[in-house]
Symmetry: C2
Subunit: 366 residues, 2 copies
């Protein structure tokens, strides 16, 4: 069992990482908050796999929690879904001291976090992330969101949960693509912040196939949470250093959106994006050729999925620029000076993006 | 010109109260924030009366602001209206440093404040309240909201504006009922906090008919803002002393909702509610009979509208309890020990509510 404390200003909370602990969730909550009432918000997939275990645990500890189940997938992260949940919460007679338990991956965490942060102007939220990506990324930092037809995450809040409860063993039932997607983020923390973490994961791919070394799993996930907590604590409102968390995301986002959402997992696109942005870092002379080769070899080693077959250079560039345009930003990218540190935010040119894309497509064919 | 500084923790801002100053709004913004881009959110009524003056002022100072106009009335304070505004903001290419200018009464302030607090996870908002109620109440305190079919203000955020800009002269074009609605809140501040303010307004009803003493208007409005700022600074999250701002609202809310929303102005219902709750205060022996009579005489002096003709005791009680039930609160009410202070929150019984209602209906007939 590991604990990571997060304290971004006036709202400290803890992240508990404890393998095979889901059945103890109810007791965990009772110890910290007493008996609660509230609503579990989850999706159909997670509910089918783990909903019973969570409900039993809550009931055994004497909590009074209903359940609201949304469809899996990004489509549920909409203003309409939020409104339906608000109405359900009223009918369940939730009040200002009731809890939202966000039980699922990134979509559920973002949606339920947003609903919790705005229902009755904000009620307590506990995040129980069930994907690797959500465990190492979206459950830390207090960002909540819903999407608009015009783009992802355009509406949301900064809102810290009361606690984050992570059971790495629930990852056993993840799709391999979802595991890769989360590993992309784990490797990202290694590359921008902690070489030891990078090397540990790099040499230990099996860990995320058979999930049998619980202590090592807890260690890796808690280290990611620590790194993210350290970064977001310095920069809760996403104005400065937090931007280095976007390593791989400029090109990665172009690939993900250019392919059409749902075609490729977010973290898989970011894996490709990190290779592209490492290549730009090396081409500019920031990163050594040896380090670039080490990164490429490591990231390809995690069964990198093929690039989207019909994604043209023009289309990639369009989506890279579109995202920046909505936010009225230049094409900034995070570049590396070495593995494990010295990540810096720099404007990159369109021709650097397309040259990196040429490099990626060659890699993809090779 | 008067200025009230508000500092609820880490987000200080100023309220400027300046008669006949709307045409100088653009310069005010330029001095404080430089040239801005953004969107004015307003309603059709305010736009028709003052939209041109505001737009000219913004343009003359070199700002780049579009305009979004909603229909007047509570129906615009919906999640659907918020979604439409978000999409419009994307199409106007607003970014994280753009401003929302909330130009209107309480509905516009709540809606535009909510949209501003959640678009791109929060962009700067300036409130330009144009009704007396909004100037003395809803533009201070950082509460934003939209309604659900199940009830008003069930969704929202706590989000402080960058500034509040108040021109009391725009009140000239208000309906008398809207003036009364705002005066209800002004008298409330006097009753719960400041006897001098109560006496000043009590003896000066003409002021709010011909609006010709600008210094006195500025003085009264700024005093209300000061009182509210003082109270909410102590209690930003609405957990303690802020509850005394609900004086008149337990019974007032029952009258407003029982009559059907839109039948009676919020502040008018609160005027009646304050009489009812003062009567309960006197009946319990907290408030002297002389003070009760002074309050009743003062509040009736402001052309109190008739009580809703077909509102039964049962229906009143149902709505008093319904509001509390959604929020899972007992029937609490703010009671007075004297004019201008010692407001205390106490649970009241159903029979006290109905006895107060009997008193009000007799008054209404008398």
């Amino acid at each position: 069992m590991k604990t990571v404390d997060v304290d971004p200003g006036n709202t400290a909370y803890s992240i508990l990482i404890d393998a095979d602990s889901l059945s103890g969730f109810g007791e965990f909550v009772k110890e910290r908050f007493g008996k609660i009432d509230g609503a579990v918000i989850t999706d159909e997939t997670v509910d089918r796999l783990y909903g019973g275990e969570l409900a039993d645990s809550l009931e055994a500890a004497g909590h009074d929690c209903g359940k609201l189940v949304v469809e899996p997938g990004e489509e549920s992260k909409s203003p309409e879904a939020a409104k339906n949940l608000y109405r359900d919460l009223v009918h369940m007679e939730l009040h200002r001291d009731s809890f939202i338990l966000a039980f699922g991956g990134g979509v559920v965490g973002d949606l339920a976090g947003f609903v919790g942060s705005t229902f009755l102007r904000g009620i307590p939220v506990i995040q129980i992330p069930t994907t690797l990506l959500a465990q190492v990324d979206s459950s830390v930092g207090g960002k909540t969101a819903v999407d608009l037809p015009e783009g992802k995450n355009l509406v949301g809040t900064f809102y810290q949960p009361e606690a984050v409860f992570i059971d790495p063993v629930v990852l056993e039932t993840l799709d391999p693509a979802d595991v890769r997607s989360g590993l992309g983020e784990v490797l990202k923390y290694g590359l921008i912040w902690d070489e030891e973490l990078f090397q540990k994961v790099n040499g230990n791919g099996d860990l995320f196939e058979d999930f049998n070394d619980q202590a090592e799993l807890e260690g890796i996930i808690s280290r990611c949470c620590e790194i993210k907590a350290e970064i977001v604590t310095e920069d809760e409102r996403d104005r400065g250093i937090r931007q280095i968390l976007n390593f791989g995301h400029t090109i990665g986002h172009g690939i993900e959106a250019g392919a059409g959402y749902g075609e490729m997992k977010h973290g898989e696109a970011v894996l490709w994006g990190m290779i592209g942005e490492s290549w730009i870092s090396a081409r500019r002379g920031y990163l050594s050729q040896e380090s670039l080769e080490e990164i490429v070899s490591a990231l390809r080693g995690f069964a990198l999925p093929p690039l989207p077959a019909d994604l043209s250079e023009e289309r990639l560039l369009k989506y890279v620029k579109l995202d920046k345009k909505v936010r009225r930003e230049r094409i900034n990218s995070v570049l590396l000076e070495r593995i494990g540190g010295e990540a810096i935010v720099k404007e990159i040119s369109e021709s650097e993006v397309t040259a990196a894309w040429d490099y990626l497509t060659e890699l993809g064919e090779g």
